[in-house]
């Protein structure tokens, strides 16, 4: 009986709203020339597409078998534990972020990042608590890929790295530079604690993945071409990070006009 009532209510709601609004929505038309100039994102330079797709498929399987289940388990931890670990991992990125901000001429941001690192590492108990955020020092991430882009280095071609995922030639170079220059990694190596480096990378991957479980699943389950969807998402996201501007300013506006007949 209960089910019947639920179904009836839904049916009534759907039918009524259909009559009132759907006709208007169906009448939405676009101009034929709207799409002539909008070729951005259609053709990302991907000369290694065959190899990339094979690596992507491997990564996807690894994600389903290892990373996603671990990230789901991580999500079940009490939120203060998740926040603490996330804060700790993010805090370790700050010295290099400040250095990159300096290289990009963002003096004020570099000072803020340094301030964040000092405050969170001390008052925030080794970065576990984000005290700096409460006093207005926001987290602003910068990496060598972004620095190279700011200096005018182009994307290069698209590449999918085993386990590390989507990238391009410039960002891969940036990633290698990060690995080579990161002071935290250098310190760990000097102390004979090199094992901590892959642990840190893995913890970062789990923390990042746990924040986008539903989004990734939605994309994976509903894409006619999941590979192309991830590739486009990667480029849009990186473009936004490089430009450091509001998403709405930077993401190309689809030329969709609404005209009624």
């Amino acid at each position: 009986m209960n089910k019947f009532i639920q179904f009836s209510i839904t049916f009534l709601f759907v039918s009524l709203s259909n009559h009132v609004f759907s006709a208007a929505s169906d009448d939405v038309k676009t101009n034929p020339e709207d799409f002539e100039t909008s070729t951005y994102e259609d053709e990302i330079y991907d000369p290694l597409e065959g190899i990339n797709r094979a690596i992507f498929s491997f990564n996807n399987t690894a994600d389903r078998i290892i990373l996603e289940p671990v990230a789901k388990g991580y999500k079940k931890l009490p939120s203060p534990v998740q926040s603490g670990l996330g804060n700790f991992i993010n805090n370790l990125k700050l010295p290099l972020a400040a250095f990159n901000q300096l290289l990009q001429g963002q003096g004020e941001n570099a000072v803020e990042s340094t301030g964040r690192f000092i405050i969170n590492s001390t008052i925030g108990i080794f970065g576990l608590i984000d005290v700096a955020d409460n006093i207005g020092l926001e987290q602003k991430e910068e990496d060598f890929g972004q620095t190279l882009a700011t200096w005018g280095v182009g994307d290069g071609f698209y590449v999918v790295l085993p386990l590390f995922g989507p990238s391009n030639l410039r960002d891969t170079t940036g990633m290698i530079m990060t690995m080579m220059t990161d002071p935290i990694n250098a310190y760990a190596t000097n102390q004979g604690q090199s094992w901590a480096i892959p642990m840190r990378t893995a913890a970062n991957a789990v923390d990042q993945r746990s924040q986008i479980i539903d989004e990734v699943n939605a994309l994976r389950d509903n894409s006619v071409d999941y590979y192309a969807a991830v590739r486009s998402s990667y480029y849009q996201n990186r473009k936004a990070a490089i430009m450091n501007t509001d998403d709405d300013v930077l993401t190309p506006l689809p030329l969709i006009s609404i005209e009624f007949e």
């Binding site: 639920q6 839904t10 929505s25 909008s38 509903n222 486009s232 993401t251 689809p254 969709i256």
Partner: protein, 201 residues
């Protein structure tokens, strides 16, 4: 006197732009509440939840316009019947995508934080922040007004545009069928059926 006229004109323009942005924000708020109320009802079967989301999206998204944009250069070559079939399939695809994103909904709070009118593109931008226990995610809605009604033309999640991603994704698949929309419709139908099964089961 001229200066006063100018100032008056600027003031009126600003007030009307702000009023438009606020009107869009209120409209969006009520539509999101409609979708969320469906997901808050734990007794409602998944199929019914999806139907409610689909109807809300069909009413409020510029589905036909987005479908045409996403089809890119394959659009002009297709016959009228193929185009109509594609639009029908695309609208369902859009609803399935958004419904799928809602699958993990667990009473997260959201807030429409800002709305502004982009005079150049004649688009209202509405920022929404979705809060979870460990942080928040920013979503930006792009809304256009036509004949006293608002339509969503794009949705940006963490700097990634749903429409631009779909265009890139469809273009990649269309390339494999030589930009033949009729052939593409078969793939889209198969994808929709698979997505529908996942959402309703």
């Amino acid at each position: 006197m001229k200066l006063t006229k100018h100032l008056f004109f600027i003031l009126i323009s600003f007030i009307s732009i702000q009023a438009n942005a606020n009107e869009a924000k209120n409209w969006l708020n009520s539509e999101i509440d409609l979708i969320i109320s469906a997901y808050k009802n734990e007794n409602l079967p998944n199929e019914n939840k999806f139907l409610m989301v689909e109807q809300t999206i069909n009413n409020n998204f510029a589905g036909t316009g987005i479908a045409k944009f996403v089809a890119g250069k394959s659009w002009n070559k297709a016959s009228k019947d193929v185009k109509l079939e594609y639009i029908k399939l695309f609208k369902r695809h859009l609803a399935l995508n958004i419904s799928s994103m809602m699958q993990g909904y667990s009473n997260q709070k959201y807030q429409l934080t800002d709305s502004r009118y982009d005079e150049k593109n004649k688009v209202t931008l509405i920022d929404m922040e979705i809060f979870s226990d460990t942080g928040s995610i920013q979503v930006t809605w792009r809304v256009k007004k036509s004949k006293d009604r608002f339509f969503v033309i794009d949705l940006l999640v963490a700097d990634i545009s749903l429409v631009v991603t779909k265009r890139s994704e469809f273009n990649s698949m269309l390339k494999t069928v030589d930009y033949n929309l009729f052939e593409f419709n078969k793939k889209l139908l198969a994808q929709n059926e698979s997505s529908y099964q996942k959402i309703t089961n």
